[in-house]
């Protein structure tokens, strides 16, 4: 195992070589812009200095809201090597709804205690609104009129709970009013007790209250004279914080230290991982605010001093053939993607696109971040073998951001190992029983792909429901231990303690071990996975809660998942009775697509009281899902 290095040290080492990034953009035929690591390093140093000159101090959290890869990476590296805490946050989607994006992002920024945002010129004015609200003066509503939760009617300041600025958390009478999620009051009501509408007609969501936010900076302006970085981060400092999702109730910021980053990346690059060599070229379309895109495809190449060719995610989604064309043209050897990307290539790459492809160079076609479906891998190999793709290049893997990125890898150069097991035994008895081979490959069985063995120096165990170790081929929660386990969730000790117990990271994923290899077969936590991204149901529920015609607090979202197929996204709501069913279902689909870019497979409208709730009024997601799956909600 190589010596552990900070991100700054790895980038400085890479800067001695000739390799670097190639940033692709525009339409096919463009060759891309080469930026050697020497220049990436120099630019990152300048950004770090500019951030310091802007007034940031060591340990301050800097939120990165940047879609452009070069801007994102130099800012992340610059902030990280200067001792600031760089946090990656998803930029707004190209077809998204900016108002809801800003509302969600405000929650994340506030809970992270972000002191600065680095974004683009275009977004600065909108993000400034979050900062403006944290000043001490009265700020009129954007519509010119409404009180925004800063002062009482009488004009006297009412301090917030933390003794700081008033955040609309107390009523005039001074009693605490809990927010919808049971958390603090979010400024959603006016002093008179009537609801205050947001600009878009929805309820006020406490959108402009990020009290610690002081600076909103445009990346384009972040420059400073060349200089050598004079503060060197220590291995146990935070390298960056990755927000896995902007959950309204609990945004989860995964703290990755330099030491855990180095442990994971060195294992990925090592002989039991991809076995990085001098001739490797990484090619990726993955978003950089995603662990596989950032760690696997942008940072791992830096630690190996090897080139990385990066293209914008939209370029791939619009024309999946562009990914394969980039591999072919740049002689890519390593490229990872979630299952859905291979599926898009099968469905959307046209025969005429195959003509100029040569994929014989592609030695590691990594697959991870979401359940792997054997038929997808089969179809991809069948379609692209004509242009040199080898099925043995597939490298199924398992991991999660809380473990930096990777936890297990299948052996290289092997056809994916598939187990066909009885679906009933798997879901009802939690045992993986081989399905009879000569029986029809049909409904009674499910095919699972081996995700391989733990990284060297790391441990994987399966825990039974009673918390003890599960026997071979018994399904239980996957738990991980070793140097890649995150330090914790940023500013959330309770969730950290719940997730990491006795040194074991509880992943919330279900799996079993067979002949020493891990098979992932479901999830214990109620996360929805679609197109390689995790969505928290609370976020979806929150987003539809103010759709006209939905009864407040009576929306439930979940993924109805079965082994062997992707999540089926279901939203169950109780209508308030004022909007026709078709219109309401359309409005709910539209809202979720606009905010999350996610297609809802089914909207179920149920009578009043049909959404299961606890005695304290919180929706019961698992119970609602069970009722749905038993057909009781139809």
């Amino acid at each position: 195992m190589p010596r552990a290095r900070t991100l700054a040290a790895a980038l400085a080492d890479a800067a001695h070589g000739a390799a670097g990034y190639v940033f692709l953009s525009g339409t096919s035929g463009s060759s891309g812009r080469e930026v050697p690591y020497t220049r990436v390093y120099a630019a990152s140093c300048r950004v770090g200095r500019a951030l310091r000159e802007a007034g940031l101090r060591r340990g301050d959290l800097v939120a990165l809201i940047l879609g452009d890869a070069e801007a994102f990476l130099t800012t992340l590296f610059g902030a990280s090597m200067s001792g600031f805490v760089a946090a990656s946050i998803s930029p707004p989607a190209s077809i998204g709804d900016l108002e809801h994006y800003l509302a969600l992002t405000a929650f994340v920024l506030r809970s992270a205690g972000a002191r600065a945002i680095v974004t683009t010129h275009a977004l600065v004015p909108r993000l400034e609104e979050l900062r403006a609200a944290s000043g001490g003066t009265e700020v009129p509503g954007r519509d010119g009129g409404l009180w925004e939760g800063r002062r009482s009617l009488g004009g006297t300041e009412v301090p917030g709970r933390d003794g700081g600025l008033w955040e609309g958390r107390r009523s005039l009478e001074g009693t605490e009013v809990p927010g919808r999620d049971g958390g603090p009051w979010e400024g959603r009501r006016s002093v008179g007790g009537t609801e205050v509408a947001g600009r878009d007609g929805g309820p006020w969501q406490g959108r402009r209250s990020c009290p610690e936010l002081e600076l909103v900076l445009a990346w384009e302006d972040l420059d400073a004279p060349d200089h050598a970085i004079d503060v060197q981060p220590a291995l146990d400092d935070i390298a960056f914080v990755q927000f896995t999702s902007g959950s309204t109730s609990s945004p989860k910021g995964v703290m990755v230290t330099h030491r855990s980053l180095s442990s994971n990346v060195d294992a990925i690059n090592g002989p039991s991982g991809i076995a990085a060599s001098a001739t490797d070229v990484a090619v990726s379309w993955l978003p950089l605010h995603h662990d596989m895109g950032l760690v696997g495809m942008a940072i791992a190449p830096v630690y190996a001093s090897r080139p990385a060719v990066l293209m914008p995610p939209e370029m791939f989604v619009k024309r999946p053939a562009e990914w394969l064309r980039a591999v072919s043209r740049h002689r890519g050897t390593v490229s990872f993607a979630p299952n859905f990307a291979y599926d898009l290539c099968v469905r959307r790459v046209k025969d005429r696109d195959l003509e100029d492809l040569d994929l014989s160079c592609w030695r590691v076609a990594g697959c991870g971040a979401e359940p792997i479906h054997p038929p997808t891998l089969d179809a991809f190999a069948a379609k692209f073998s004509a242009v040199g793709f080898r099925e043995t290049s597939f490298l199924p893997s398992y991991g999660l951001a809380e473990h930096v990125l990777a936890a297990t890898f299948a052996p290289r150069g092997r056809t994916p190992r598939i187990e066909r097991v009885s679906a009933d035994d798997l879901t009802a008895r939690h045992v993986a029983v081989s399905a009879c081979r000569d029986v029809d490959r049909d409904k009674g069985s499910v095919a699972l792909v081996s995700c391989g063995t733990p990284l060297p120096g790391h441990r994987v165990e399966i825990r039974a429901e009673n918390g003890g170790p599960a026997p071979e081929r018994h399904v239980g929660e996957i738990v991980l231990a070793g140097p890649s386990v995150m330090r914790g969730y940023y500013r959330d000790e309770a969730l950290t303690a719940e997730t990491i117990r006795d040194g074991w990271l509880h992943t919330g994923d279900l799996g079993y071990v067979s002949d020493g290899e891990l098979f992932v077969c479901g999830r214990a936590k109620d996360v929805i996975i679609a197109n390689g991204r995790k969505h928290h149901p609370q976020d979806l529920e929150w987003a539809v809660d103010d759709v006209v015609g939905v009864r407040r607090g009576r929306a439930v979202a979940f993924g109805s998942s079965a082994p062997g197929r992707a999540d089926y996204v279901v939203v169950v709501v109780e209508p308030s009775g004022t909007v026709p069913a078709d219109t309401l279902a359309g409005a709910i689909r539209a809202r979720i697509s606009a905010v999350f870019g996610l297609a809802v497979d089914e909207v179920v409208l149920v009578p009043s009281g049909a959404v299961a709730r606890t005695t304290s009024g919180k929706v019961q997601r698992a119970e609602t899902r069970r009722r749905y799956e038993r057909g009781e909600l139809a």
Binding site: A93, I95, G96, K318, G586, A590, A599
Partner: protein, 87 residues
């Protein structure tokens, strides 16, 4: 009374939408891609690529979010096709 025949561009746009949709749809001019046809962000970009190929035009990314109903798409494609033929 008979309905006016759809223009070739309108018919082409509707064909693309039907092909891209994962479930059977009958797109109407006033339909919104997301609210009525249930497209997600991946499918919206797939529609853009298919329209570019079929009509030999180029649609900029920043136009995508502003173009949401079938009628808006038909209008945008018509403008781009006309600009193309005048070159």
């Amino acid at each position: 009374m008979s309905l006016p025949a759809a223009s070739p561009i309108e018919q082409g746009v509707i064909d693309v939408l039907k092909n891209v949709s994962r479930r059977p749809v009958e797109p109407h001019l006033e339909d919104d891609l997301v609210a009525h046809l249930g497209f997600d962000s991946l499918q919206v970009l797939e529609v853009v690529a298919e329209l570019e190929d079929r009509f030999d035009i180029s649609i900029a990314m920043d136009e995508v979010s502003a173009t949401r109903t079938v009628a808006q798409i038909v209008a945008r494609v018509t403008t781009l096709v006309e600009a193309q033929s005048q070159r």
